[in-house]
């Protein structure tokens, strides 16, 4: 396993361990409390999970982006680092190519306030995934 993926797995595991998932009511995004280091308990939905991961990623000097996507008809938020996805709904870090049922829509910049951009869902990623899965 690469060093980067090991670090991402560590962050995903740390946040997940002290995270209680609540119902996704409305679209209110909240940062974790000041001084958050992964060991405080959080009660939130996918947005809160992503923002918590982003705090720890920033602390470790790892650049990340937020990705807004759709699963069925539900909006969902994940964190992306070089194509690796940290997601409240996954048990570990996974490659974006392993999530063909996610409809990727918008991606943030690396810094707060950076513009968001559309994600073009071309067939290449899906084709690659399906070929890899045989």
């Amino acid at each position: 396993m690469s060093d980067l993926k090991s670090e991402l797995q560590y962050i995903h595991r740390t946040v997940s361990k002290h995270f209680v998932q609540t119902n996704d009511i409305g679209e209110s995004w909240d940062m974790p409390p000041p001084g958050y280091n992964g060991h405080q308990w959080l009660r939130d939905d996918c947005d809160g999970f992503c923002l918590a991961c982003r705090v720890l990623l920033r602390d470790m000097g790892i650049a990340s982006r937020l990705v807004y996507c759709e699963l069925g008809r539900s909006g969902h938020l994940v964190v992306e680092v070089q194509g690796w996805i940290l997601d409240l709904r996954q048990r570990s870090v996974v490659a974006n190519t392993l999530l063909p049922h996610y409809r990727w829509l918008r991606i943030s910049g690396y810094e707060a306030g950076d513009p968001w951009r559309e994600i073009i869902n071309d067939e290449a990623t899906l084709t690659l995934t399906m070929a890899s899965l045989g």
Partner: protein, 59 residues
Amino acid sequence: MKTQTRRRFLISLGVTLGVASLGLNGCSSIEPQPFSIGVVVKAPKGCQELLAKDKRGDC
């Protein structure tokens, strides 16, 4: 004796190649691909509100 040694070598070679081939197909991990990114769009509503209400907002 010579035949036995050769047979043992061929078996070892076969096992080694078999194990090595596992890494090339079903057991290999699938690598991520970069997203194809297009034009600038609006940030999700939750992000816009976060930036408005919290100066620590990171989205």
